[in-house]
């Protein structure tokens, strides 16, 4: 796909991203007001550091997940890869500062290989990504349960700094996460492979017809996603000071997917981006921090999280829909962009259950993996 064909698609994408950032700002303002009303202050050093720290781990996972989702794939194995990465890093480093690089390399290398396997199973074997990565997760779980019955290895103090050092209120891990995010944005916007990611996610068949090998971006995205999960594992290991196989039980994969979707990326691929995801990550981290500051019952937290995620995505869906007339999806094989159309369909009647419901959007909802 050529640049010119893609560029128009960017403008509306910015729109969604802008909306996500607006939501983030609104949430921060609301939260600050709410906490202030309770006689607290949301922006104390402690709370700010807490917010950033929470966002860095989820950030790594969500950036990788974004790439995969843009390719119309999915990765449910990231939690397991992160857990594996903690033990591989910790056992390789074994408390020896000179082995830090070796440990990082081993953890990320192995994670990359798992991503490669995921990508190949999805593209070459034609296994649905949901099943392929769920299965990969189970395989890793079995290995971890068998080999590591408890914490293993030791992270030298030098590498623990990755988890604990901060510059002012900004933890180093958050800076690195943001750096990775910028790199991912550049990768998607400035490289040929980045365009191919959107192309394949938009329509693999059309991408193939226009000369892209659809496997390549998908496999690349899976490798990058797993490496990101491995990085998240390194961060966990640095914070734990050891490797912990049982962190896979924390539901990171679903949280990462929630962050990606909150960030406005379309779960069926081809639309969205890393910038939105970062806002999604910060939204979730802000919620967690606020819940903590307000000492909300842990079970109520789950309820609120569920409601907010659904509500946010519903709002985007509305927004996306009302702008559908100006929205251009990835152009399909040179044909006129499918989303461009007469106004009545672009702005559906309030009652989509009308007799001959011509509403196009359920199509967008269907065709899931």
């Amino acid at each position: 796909m050529k640049r010119t064909a893609i560029l128009p698609a960017r403008v509306p994408r910015l729109g969604t991203t802008a909306m996500v950032y607006l939501a983030l700002v609104l949430l921060l303002a609301l939260s600050a007001a709410f906490v202030a009303a309770r006689g607290g202050n949301l922006f104390t050093t402690a709370n700010t550091v807490d917010l950033f720290t929470r966002s860095s781990l989820l950030g790594f996972l969500a950036i990788g997940q974004t790439l995969v989702i843009l390719c119309r794939s999915l990765d449910l194995s990231v939690g397991y890869v992160a857990a594996l990465s903690t033990v591989v890093a910790a056992t390789t480093m074994a408390g020896d500062p000179s082995r830090v690089l070796l440990g990082v390399g081993a953890a990320l290398g192995l994670a990359g290989l798992i991503g490669l396997a995921n990508g190949l199973v999805v593209t070459k074997l034609g296994v649905n990504p949901f099943i392929a990565t769920l299965g990969a997760g189970l395989i890793i779980k079995g290995y971890l349960d068998t080999e590591f019955q408890g914490p293993a290895g030791e992270i030298p103090a030098a590498f623990q700094a990755f988890g604990y050092t901060r510059i002012g209120v900004l933890p180093v891990s958050t800076l690195i996460m943001l750096g990775v995010a910028v790199a991912a944005v550049l990768f998607l916007r400035r490289t040929r492979m980045g365009y191919h990611v959107y192309a394949v996610g938009g329509d693999a068949e059309v991408a193939r017809l226009s000369g892209i090998r659809p496997e390549v971006p998908t496999v690349t995205a899976h490798v990058l996603c797993s490496v990101m999960a491995g990085t998240a594992g390194l961060l966990l290991a640095a914070r734990f000071g050891t490797g912990s196989a049982t962190v896979y039980g924390n539901g990171y994969e679903l949280e990462a997917i929630a962050a990606v979707v909150l960030g406005g990326t379309y779960l069926l691929g081809g639309r969205g981006g890393v910038a939105g995801t970062i806002a999604g990550v910060f939204i979730l981290a802000t919620l967690d921090t606020v819940f903590n500051v307000l000492a909300i019952d842990p079970f109520v937290k789950d309820v609120l999280r569920g409601v907010i995620v659904i509500a946010a995505v519903a709002v985007y869906a509305r927004g996306r829909h009302s702008r559908a007339a100006t929205r251009v999806r990835f152009p399909s094989g040179g044909a006129s962009p499918p989303d461009r159309g007469p106004a009545p369909e672009a702005r559906p009647s309030p009652d989509p259950g009308g007799p001959a419901d011509p509403d196009p959007s359920p199509r967008a909802l269907g065709g899931r993996r």
Binding site: T44, Q149, N250
Partner: protein, 401 residues
């Protein structure tokens, strides 16, 4: 690009075959299945000295008031806390970083803790009580502890770590802040805290259960072990101790299964073991789901096994109803009172034990009726030795949780 489907079919078939093959070796051995693992403790989790120490602690009479086991301590080494004395304890803030309330044992304990806090607040011995709950996420708990430290509002930090090794750096950070730190339940690999409160421990739990099975079963009887999860130290210690005890006995360990505490899984696994032969005894590393295991025997029309559960009420009620041969090892739930009491003692500058080992005595047949009587109104999935009978909120706080 194309992978021949024969290859894939082969892969699937091969996997099945391989899994089938793995059985050959154990089948040849007299032990059978995981029984091999059952005879020798797992080195990683077995510490001979600690094991013997815990077994010995069971026999030691603890210091302290007999009717308040949560204030008793086994062989305490008292340390001075005058440096932490607070001028106005009624204004002091207690911060509690909780691993989670994700299982009934923790739910019961946390209610008891909240009631103890209210009692102490009324007495003016402590002030504000802040809680953050990490929902079993180690990284979250590290952040939670960090947030307490950074806030500078805490006069005492109480921590119930979700995992031993991984929380060590965070607890050390809390210690370095100069605020007195109280750790309870699971420990950390550090002794920087003012006091570490825990019942005797997992080895004693597992050994109590296993010894009971050894005493009450004939030599050669078959025992099935039901475990919740791998990799959790308090649970691994229970199993390591049981392996040690079973290894010295004439019982045959059929194997162990991980159940995640899910009743349906427990019942299914036990049913399958019953289909293939006798099961005379059940060893469990935690009591939730013991009733499901017993029902598998009922449904198969088999006599009840000799069973070790926990002081969880649905199991104890079943035990009484069916007149089982059973024991309820206890991981003292009343330990949840102790950290807040310790915090109030620290704020008052009183001495506390540096390692506060609480008694941990299993419920046996002779006291079964007494404990059921005491907990008559309590719901199932409540723990008999919760030790909150004298708190002001009793019994509503626990019955109407």
């Amino acid at each position: 690009m194309r992978v021949p489907r024969v290859l894939l079919a082969g892969a699937a078939g091969l996997t099945l075959m391989l899994t089938a093959c793995t059985t050959d070796t154990p089948d040849d051995s007299p032990e059978g299945g995981n029984g091999e693992a059952g005879s020798t403790p797992d080195g990683e989790w077995f510490d001979q000295a600690e094991y013997e120490a815990q077994l010995a602690q069971r026999e030691i009479t603890p210091e302290g008031p007999e009717d308040q086991p949560w204030l008793q301590a086994i062989e305490p080494e008292w340390i001075d806390t005058a440096e932490f004395a607070h001028d106005a304890p009624e204004d002091a803030t207690l911060c509690f970083s909780n691993a989670s309330v994700s299982n009934p044992w923790r739910v019961t304990g946390f209610i008891t803790m909240e009631q103890q806090v209210e009692a102490l607040q009324e007495e003016g011995r402590i002030g504000d009580f802040r809680v953050s709950d990490a929902a079993d996420d180690d990284n979250q708990q590290i952040s939670d502890i960090q947030a307490f430290v950074d806030s500078g509002d805490c006069d005492v930090i109480i921590i119930s770590p979700s995992t031993t090794a991984t929380l060590t750096p965070a607890v050390e950070t809390a210690c370095e802040s100069g605020v007195p730190v109280v750790v309870f339940d699971r420990g950390v690999n550090s002794d920087c805290m003012v006091t570490f409160i825990h019942p005797i421990g997992g080895y004693a739990f597992g050994a109590d259960a296993a010894e009971f099975l050894v005493e009450n079963l004939d030599p050669g009887s078959k025992v099935l072990a039901l475990r919740i999860l791998p990799g959790v130290d308090v649970l691994e210690h229970r199993w390591a101790a049981a392996q040690e005890v079973f290894g010295d006995s004439d019982l045959e360990v059929l194997g162990y299964e991980f159940t995640e505490g899910d009743g349906a899984k427990i019942k299914d696994l036990v049913s399958q073991h019953l289909q293939r032969g006798e099961v005379d005894g059940i060893w469990m590393d935690a009591g939730d789901g013991a009733v499901a295991a017993l029902e598998a025997f009922e449904d198969a029309g088999r006599p009840y096994p000799v069973i070790s559960g926990e002081d969880e009420l649905s199991f104890m009620r079943k035990w009484q109803e069916e007149d089982l041969t059973a024991i309820a090892p206890v991981y003292s739930n009343f330990q949840w009172r102790t950290p807040v009491l310790a915090a109030s003692m620290i704020l008052a500058g009183e001495e506390v034990p540096s390692e506060w080992v609480l008694p941990q005595e299993p419920v046996r047949q002779d006291r079964l009726d007494e404990y059921l009587q005491r907990n008559e109104d309590m719901p199932s999935l409540h723990y008999a030795k919760f030790g909150g009978e004298d708190l002001p909120g009793f019994p509503e706080a626990w019955t109407e949780r």
